[in-house]
């Protein structure tokens, strides 16, 4: 989900860039040097995941996964998503320079909110509560991204209202799929490697040389 070049007006682009820059600054400040390889690799995984197409009825859609990225990285989702989007702009010309800020904001802000709200539930609770939190994280982060995208379009021009509604509505099935995938993925990680869900900051007790 992204907004192409040439659509938004400068006040929207500028405020998007300013908020994205602020979020990235917070993310970088919280990100320790030793956690950069981990963040980079998750950012790369986020990039690759966006190339994975899953079937929805007769059509298919690519995954967004900003919910999972948020749950795994916390605030570091901002720089991670910024970097992944810049690479997409570089290689596929998806998005671009002037829209980098708004696109980062619309993907990363829901990711961070999803982390703040659902992360505690996911680590502290088990069973249905944790699953529900996983589903909600995946579902709501895409929904929220859609809403921000729609808001940007409508702020830019009232005439874009219908386009905005259309975009949000075609994302509805994707939200459900993202919810399901996030739920199972979180369940998988809880079982296989719960330390990954400890957020990037106190990551993995297994490497004292790094955590020291």
């Amino acid at each position: 989900m992204h907004i192409s070049e040439g659509i938004l007006t400068w006040p929207v682009l500028a405020s998007g860039a300013a908020f994205a820059a602020a979020g990235t600054a917070v993310g970088l400040k919280k990100l320790k040097t030793e956690d950069i390889p981990k963040t980079a690799i998750l950012s790369a995984a986020f990039f690759v995941a966006s190339l994975i197409h899953v079937p929805i009825g007769p059509a298919s859609a690519h995954l967004i996964l900003n919910g999972i990225v948020g749950l795994l990285l916390g605030w570091a989702a901002f720089p991670a998503i910024l970097v992944a989007l810049f690479l997409q702009a570089l290689f596929f010309q998806y998005g671009g320079i002037t829209t980098l800020g708004v696109n980062t904001l619309l993907m990363a802000l829901p990711a961070v909110l999803c982390y703040l709200v659902f992360h505690p539930l996911i680590i502290k609770k088990d069973g249905y509560t944790a699953s529900a939190a996983g589903f909600a994280g995946g579902f709501l982060s895409v929904l929220f991204s859609g809403i921000i995208l729609a808001a940007f379009l409508i702020f830019a021009h009232r005439a874009f209202t219908e386009v905005a509604y259309f975009i949000v509505s075609i994302h509805l099935p994707i939200m459900i799929i993202e919810g399901i995938i996030t739920m199972f993925c979180i369940g998988f990680l809880k079982k296989v490697q719960p330390s990954l869900l400890g957020s990037v900051y106190g990551f993995d007790g297994s490497n004292p040389a790094i955590t020291k």
Partner: protein
């Protein structure tokens, strides 16, 4: 072996212990010494703690008992290990873990630059190492586009450019074809450094090392030490397919 020069220990491990959190110890009461000029092989089954041993030597994993001395210096804090890592070059099993820079020269120069060398010094030592390995034309190649064998040789270059006094090579043959194996064997024979090689390829160890230890039950077993030139001992390994040179 030449018995006239007094032994000059490069790595001394004295009764070290290591256990991953919440698990049984992988290394228990392990003692081992590598002297200058020695080329040692470490033969052991999967999961016996070989890689752990290397990571312990350079302080990536903290030991729970015993002492480690590198070039006579006691390893007590992270600061000691930071120093030791420049003296002991560790070649990782998977070259994709070692190479991260966009181009080969960036990666080879990474270590020297970290050691405080100027750009010119770092470039010159990197180029020297690349040419020693026959990789001069690889300088501006993109690391991820190299073949498995090329990646392994470039990884070795990234270690050699730090001019270490001892090399720790973790399964250097993993996934290499015959041509690259031969090339690597040739390189190791002509290198002027002490080294320890972990491998489960006994032919390779016989070619490239003077002494072979076994790691069993978290200890190196001195009684199974094999001197390559001693036929008795070599035959103890007779159940593993190998060749005598």
């Amino acid at each position: 072996m030449d018995n006239t020069t007094p032994p000059d220990p490069v790595i001394e491990l004295d009764h070290i212990r290591y256990a991953y959190p919440g698990e049984d110890p992988v290394l228990r009461d392990l003692s081992f010494t590598l002297n200058r000029g020695e080329r040692t092989g470490l033969l052991a089954p999967n999961g016996s703690g070989k890689t752990t041993l290397f990571h312990v030597i350079v302080g990536l994993l903290p030991i729970s008992g015993g002492t480690i001395r590198i070039l006579g210096r006691n390893m007590e804090s992270e600061k000691d290990f930071v120093w030791a890592r420049k003296k002991a070059g560790l070649l990782f099993q998977d070259a994709d873990d070692q190479l991260f820079s966009p181009t080969v020269i960036d990666d080879v120069a990474f270590g020297p630059l970290n050691m405080g060398k100027t750009r010119e010094e770092a470039l010159s030592v990197s180029r020297r190492v690349l040419s020693f390995l026959g990789l001069s034309e690889f300088e501006n190649r993109i690391t991820f586009k190299l073949s498995g064998g090329e990646k392994k040789l470039v990884s070795l270059a990234t270690i050699l450019s730090m001019e270490p006094e001892v090399l720790l090579l973790d399964e250097p043959l993993n996934g290499l074809d015959q041509a690259t194996r031969t090339r690597l064997t040739g390189v190791l024979e002509s290198i002027d450094a002490s080294y320890i090689i972990i491998s489960h390829d006994i032919d390779f160890l016989l070619d490239c090392t003077d002494t072979i230890y076994c790691l069993r039950d978290g200890k190196t077993e001195k009684d199974t030490t094999v001197h390559v030139h001693s036929h008795d001992h070599a035959h103890m390994m007779g159940h593993i397919p190998h060749q005598h040179k």
